[in-house]
């Protein structure tokens, strides 16, 4: 188990390093001079040169890359070009939106998707099953930003129950802060809930035909009891995999949803930073997200190995 964890951990570190190199290189190749962007088209060349020097943009690429990596080890993410503030501080300020948003969306997608999947599997072939699966198909197809706009039209413009966007800080009014996250998290969760419902249904249908369900029924359980006691738990394995993967999709979805609901989250920070060529801010934010995603996968792997002994032993051979 320890050896398994260690191997996985080394893999994680290598992935991070590769991600850092790719992010750095990709952004460095991008055309565009941050100093010219900040000062605009009427600035004199010497003013632009002065700013380039202030921002440290004139150093060679390798030097900047290792300076950045080295800084991150001691928690120094650098200074934002456009905002002049420590990147770590800017990112930290956005987590109060993005983390709750992602968590609520995750809970919502599981809370909506799983019961629908189970219900559809239990009523396989019925009208309810067909209807629910059509809905799920729609849910997968609808883009989350468009669904978000529909939610705003109904709940903010027409009914006026919830704010159409923006964010009240948690410290100022926690209820209002939560209220500002309701519509965005629903918009973010819907496509994921639809995917979960389909996976859950398929997994459960597979399980229902398996030998151990037949054995359980032979021991005198009803089909419902057999499915609940043995089926759902086994069907959860593929669902857990999907849940782990979904985290990455949710994080990517925040970039769009935070823009539609003008929330001050990490996704919008990255979006704005890319537009303004605030390269150091983009790089560090992307690395934080990469870390969060592969960290989640690392934990999922560990949980898997712990639940399923076959995985461990195969690795140990």
């Amino acid at each position: 188990m320890i050896r398994f964890a260690l191997t996985k951990f080394l893999g994680l570190a290598a992935t991070l390093l590769v991600a850092a190199a790719i992010t750095f290189a990709a952004l460095d190749i991008l055309p565009g001079d941050p100093a010219r962007f900040i000062l605009g088209i009427n600035a004199t060349p010497d003013a632009v040169a002065a700013l380039r020097e202030q921002l440290g943009l004139d150093a060679p690429a390798l030097q900047r890359f290792f300076g950045w990596i080295g800084g991150m080890f001691v928690g120094d993410f650098g200074l934002s070009y456009t905002q002049g503030q420590p990147v770590g501080q800017l990112i930290a300020g956005r987590l109060g939106v993005t983390i709750p948003l992602t968590v609520i969306a995750m809970i919502l997608s599981a809370g909506i998707g799983l019961p629908i999947g189970i219900l559809a599997a239990r009523r396989r072939g019925s009208f309810a099953d067909a209807g629910l699966m059509v809905l799920a198909q729609l849910g997968v197809a609808i883009p989350n930003f468009w669904f978000g706009m529909l939610l705003v039209l109904l709940f903010s413009v027409t009914l006026r129950w919830l704010p159409p966007g923006g964010f009240v800080p948690w410290g100022e009014n926690p209820f209002a802060a939560f209220a500002s996250l309701i519509l965005p998290s629903i918009a973010l969760a819907l496509p994921q809930a639809a995917i979960l419902a389909r996976v859950m249904r398929t997994a459960l249908v597979d399980v229902q035909g398996s030998d151990y369900i037949r054995t359980a029924r032979a021991k005198g359980l009803t089909l419902s009891e057999a499915v609940w006691k043995h089926g759902v738990r086994n069907a959860m394995l593929p669902v857990l995999t999907i849940l782990g993967l979904q985290f990455a999709y949710l994080v990517a979805g925040t970039v769009i949803v935070e823009n539609v609901f003008y929330l001050p989250g990490l996704g919008r920070l990255i979006f704005d930073a890319i537009s303004a060529r605030d390269l150091i801010l983009v790089r560090s934010s992307v690395i934080i997200l990469v870390l969060a995603v592969i960290g989640t996968m690392f934990l999922t792997d560990l949980a898997y190995a712990w639940v399923d002994p076959r995985l461990r032993s195969r690795k140990a051979e």
């Binding site: 000062l39 956005r94 909506i112 704010p163 209002a176 939560f178």
Partner: protein, 492 residues
């Protein structure tokens, strides 16, 4: 869990929105398309900086009013020497910065020293390059000496780039701006909103508003929803295509005005075939401005025939110089040895007037055989490729700086236009302070650009604002970048 969340959401929602307004409000929530990257108007070109702080948080010696005229601000009056080389500014007394420090002549000397310094990162440094010296005569008098006469000096002094900052606080103005204006900076929730409050110690007339919040919404549909839902009270300038929604709604008023933005089909004059006057004239004859305005700007915008705003007192209408005439265009192309036209690229920045306008221009020029390949760029690529490296044939862009006709006198500018006759007119203009003589020169300059068909002159960008019907005092026109709050008030 899902059900509980939904119930909680409903209960919260009811408590959140149930605020009704009775007495005249003194607070205001304004939507802004772009969030300012920082808040120091003397160290960045972003229009969003001025939209928040210009004349609200920071003030200059002079200020620009709604008509584009120069008015006294931190200087209550000034004297100009007969040779136009020396300006003596008499400063207002009793003005203080928001941190309590006193405003005096030393702050003015410091501010201008910072703008003209060798390591200055002022976005408009070139405008102040003609300053020879800035001296504090006494605590309330400053003398600025120029190297040569400058007819636009008082206007430039009133721009956001030359607002007065204090040596004690200037270094932190990017995130905590400290000025002398009627509103003081309170809080900036980055990525969401920014709050200003009335400054109790303001030296001048107190504004009607006590608290102003800027909400940053870069998604067009989200802006419409925010207005409809009442979560913001107005937007200074929003997409013209969304205006019909608000025109039909009595809760709103649509404020349409003019800006300083000349929208151009820029031609690389240094590069063949655009270096040929006949080709440029042919393009001018092929442009149907009415169609471009209808498509690229939803019908908002005034046709222009040269590089000058129609609301200016020195404007002359030159839209008839090369009227829409495809036969004339074909004839000119044939004379220029392009009887079948030619191919070129049209590089477009990411703004709707350019991306949509580009398609219309391409289809119009195709009628005379000029085949355009459209290339969409983001802002940084545009700045690098087109503006800095001059690697382009044609582009569409709005030049939003006030009084920027002088850019045509710079042969190194990305237009690639090197015309000694025009440069002579500009030189003479800079040395002339007499109003009537200046007007004559400005008209000559406009005519020269129109006749030379330096660029395709399309239209003056409109400012299309949407505000609550109960608000008064917003600027209709935008002679400078900014959203000036001092006159805005609620009628009920």
């Amino acid at each position: 869990m899902a059900l509980r969340t939904a119930v909680a959401a409903f209960a919260l929602a009811l408590s959140f929105v149930g605020i009704a307004d009775a007495a005249p409000r003194t607070d205001l929530r304004i939507g802004l398309v772009l969030e300012p990257p920082a808040l120091d108007p003397t160290a960045g070109a972003a229009a969003a900086i001025d939209e928040v702080v210009y004349q609200n948080v920071f003030e200059g010696l002079t200020r620009i009013d709604e008509t584009g005229a120069v008015q006294p601000a931190l200087a209550s009056s000034w004297d100009v020497s007969a040779d136009g080389l020396s300006y003596t500014f008499h400063l207002v007394e009793g003005a203080t910065f928001h941190d309590g420090t006193t405003f005096d002549a030393d702050d003015v000397v410091f501010t201008y020293g910072r703008i003209t310094a060798a390591d200055s990162v002022n976005a408009q440094k070139a405008l102040y390059a003609g300053i020879d010296s800035v001296t504090a005569v006494n605590a309330n008098t400053v003398e600025i000496k120029l190297k040569g006469p400058d007819g636009l000096f008082l206007f430039n002094v009133g721009r956001g780039d030359a607002v007065i900052v204090a040596p004690e606080s200037a270094a932190n103005n990017a995130n905590t701006p400290i000025g002398t204006g009627p509103f003081k900076f309170v809080n900036w929730q980055k990525g969401a909103d920014l709050t200003l409050e009335q400054y109790a110690g303001y030296w001048g007339t107190k504004p009607a508003l006590t608290k102003v919040t800027y909400v940053f919404i870069n998604d067009a549909a989200a802006r419409v929803n925010a207005l409809l839902a009442g979560s913001i009270d107005g937007i200074n300038n929003t997409d013209a295509s969304t205006l019909p929604v608000f025109k039909a709604d009595p809760r709103f008023k649509v404020v349409v005005g003019s800006t300083e933005g000349e929208t151009l089909l820029v031609q690389n004059n240094a590069k063949a075939p655009f270096s040929d006057l006949k080709v440029r004239q042919a393009i001018a004859h092929s442009l149907d401005r009415a169609e471009i305005i209808a498509g690229a700007s939803s019908g908002y915008g005034t046709p222009i025939g040269s590089h000058f705003p129609p609301h200016s007192k020195d404007y002359v209408d030159l839209t008839g110089t090369y009227p829409y005439d495809l036969d004339a265009a074909r004839k000119l192309l044939a004379e220029a040895d392009y009887p079948d036209g030619f191919s070129a690229t049209l590089k477009l920045p990411p703004v709707p007037y350019a991306t949509v306008g580009g398609q219309i221009v391409a289809s119009q020029l195709a009628k005379v055989g000029i085949k355009l390949t459209q290339v969409n760029l983001d802002w940084n690529q545009w700045l690098t490729d087109v503006f800095t490296n001059k690697d382009y044939d044609l582009t569409i862009i709005s030049h939003v700086e006030p009084f920027d006709i002088g850019i045509y006198a710079d042969p190194n500018y990305y237009f690639g236009y090197n015309d000694p006759d025009f440069q002579a007119i500009m030189k003479q203009l800079n040395e002339t302070t007499d109003e009537a003589a200046r007007k004559e020169l400005l008209i000559a300059a406009q005519k020269r650009l129109a006749e030379q068909a330096v660029n395709g002159y399309l239209f003056e960008l409109a400012q299309t604002g949407v505000w609550s019907a109960k608000l008064e005092g917003m600027w209709q026109n935008a002679p400078v970048e900014g959203v000036v709050l001092s006159g805005i008030h609620w009628t009920e």
